[in-house]
């Protein structure tokens, strides 16, 4: 890993100034996505700006028809939050299935969302639940936020402060996990809420999270596992690696979608 200048700001304004001060500055939250890619020299930031000392980014708030999760909340905090467990249990369960206990203690929602790994779980939850990504300067709907593998709508100097999830009537996440990393080989979040039924898939496509319109329409007409069991997605553009080939991933999307619908009860 190349060396860099480390900044530990104690306010959002200081963090923004540090982010703008370095030519290749990056934010670091829990570091569980960024440090591994830095070790591989796939990223070599000149400056790292830590958000750990910035106040106000670690709260989980029940807003009635929505739940707002601070960007620095760890996966363990989301999984264990009484508010999340009561209002959006599918989100708590999803967070509880990320990586392992130590990864969940360090990795954060903001870091995961900003990194947009094509096999990460949070993008599927954000898109299916119709979440809003809140930054230092604006609010971005999940549909517009995720823009392909490792790409998001964030500006270089933009800081995620929170993610706001509408409370669905029912939702569930089903994941076929890589047995070593627990990353999704295929993960499907199904949510039935104010915006209708939404089906979001992670882990499968080289372009990252995507929705399956045909499944959403079928579930809108009849919310049952059988409604999606016969809907196949194309293997074009699916990831293919030692864990699973493209055809198998496409098959898994249908299986995981059916399981998620059935888990909605």
């Amino acid at each position: 890993m190349n060396d860099f200048t480390y900044h530990a700001p104690t306010s959002l304004d200081e963090a923004l100034a540090a982010l703008r001060g370095g030519e290749g500055a990056k934010l670091i939250a829990g570091g569980h996505s960024l440090l591994p890619v830095m070790k591989l020299n796939l990223a070599a930031p000149t400056d790292l700006v830590s958000l750990s000392g910035v106040p106000g980014l670690g709260d989980i708030a029940d807003g009635g028809d929505s739940v707002t999760v601070g960007a620095m909340c760890s996966h363990a905090q989301v999984a264990g939050s009484a508010v999340v467990r009561a209002r959006i249990p599918a989100l708590a369960a999803m967070a509880d299935g990320i990586g392992d206990a130590q990864v969940r203690n360090a990795g954060t929602i903001g870091g995961s969302v900003a990194h947009n790994d094509p096999a990460a779980d949070y993008p599927a939850a954000c898109v299916a639940l119709g979440a809003t990504i809140v930054t230092d300067r604006r609010e971005i709907h999940a549909d517009d936020f995720f823009q392909g593998m490792f790409a998001t709508a964030l500006a270089d100097d933009e800081v995620i402060t929170a993610v706001r999830f509408p409370v669905p009537a029912r939702a569930a996440y089903a994941k076929f996990a890589n047995p070593a990393s627990k990353y999704a080989v295929a993960g499907v979040m199904v949510a039935d809420g104010a915006a209708g039924v939404r089906v979001a898939v992670t882990g499968a496509s080289g372009d990252g999270v995507f929705r399956v319109a045909e499944m959403e329409a079928a579930l809108g007409a009849s919310f049952s596992g059988g409604a999606v069991a016969g809907i196949a997605v194309s293997s074009d553009g699916m990831l293919s690696d030692t864990a699973a080939g493209a055809d198998y991933r496409a098959h898994l999307v249908t299986v995981m979608a059916k399981r998620a619908v059935e888990a909605c009860g």
Partner: protein
């Protein structure tokens, strides 16, 4: 170069590091606490697990500067002199190790579990140890040790 100060096993320790210095390297190379091991260096195997502010984390995926000001506990901080910590004693009693490479991380992970769950089921222990790999034992005795250690701790470390 940045200087860091943290409480390690109850003692304030300082050092000058590179920004890129990992917490595990600070513990091992700067402080000589070589009980914390580096296995995979990719946050999968768990040989490097330590507690930072009471939570178990993988110290190969944490910068030393990120732990500046933190309260860190390593495997060396568990025993009280010659008296093993109840979790260490349980690993010895139940033969929860063979080569011992993964053991420091296993024990630190197990203590974190026991702090949250005084009587974990076999299933809960196996789920919790997802991030700790052992290539010798088949885990069976480790699971028995963690359950016994948690009960011996009686809900506190």
């Amino acid at each position: 170069m940045p200087s860091v100060t943290m409480t390690v096993n109850g003692m304030e320790r300082s050092g000058t590091v590179e920004s890129r210095t990992l917490l595990v390297d600070f513990l091992r190379e700067h402080l000589g606490l070589t009980g914390t091991h580096v296995g995979c260096d990719t946050s999968q195997c768990g040989a490097c697990v330590v507690h930072v502010n009471g939570s178990s984390v993988k110290s190969c995926t944490c910068l030393a500067v990120q732990a500046d000001g933190a309260d860190v506990t390593t495997i060396e901080g568990l025993a009280n002199g010659a008296d093993l910590h109840p979790m260490q004693e349980a690993f010895r009693e139940h033969h929860g190790l063979q080569c011992g490479f993964c053991t420091p991380g296993m024990v630190m992970s197990a203590v974190d579990l026991a702090n949250q769950n005084a009587d974990p089921s076999e299933h809960e222990v196996r789920e919790w140890l997802e991030g700790n790999l052992c290539r010798c034992t088949g885990y069976h005795n480790i699971v028995k040790a963690v359950q016994a250690g948690a009960r011996a701790m009686g809900g506190g470390s």
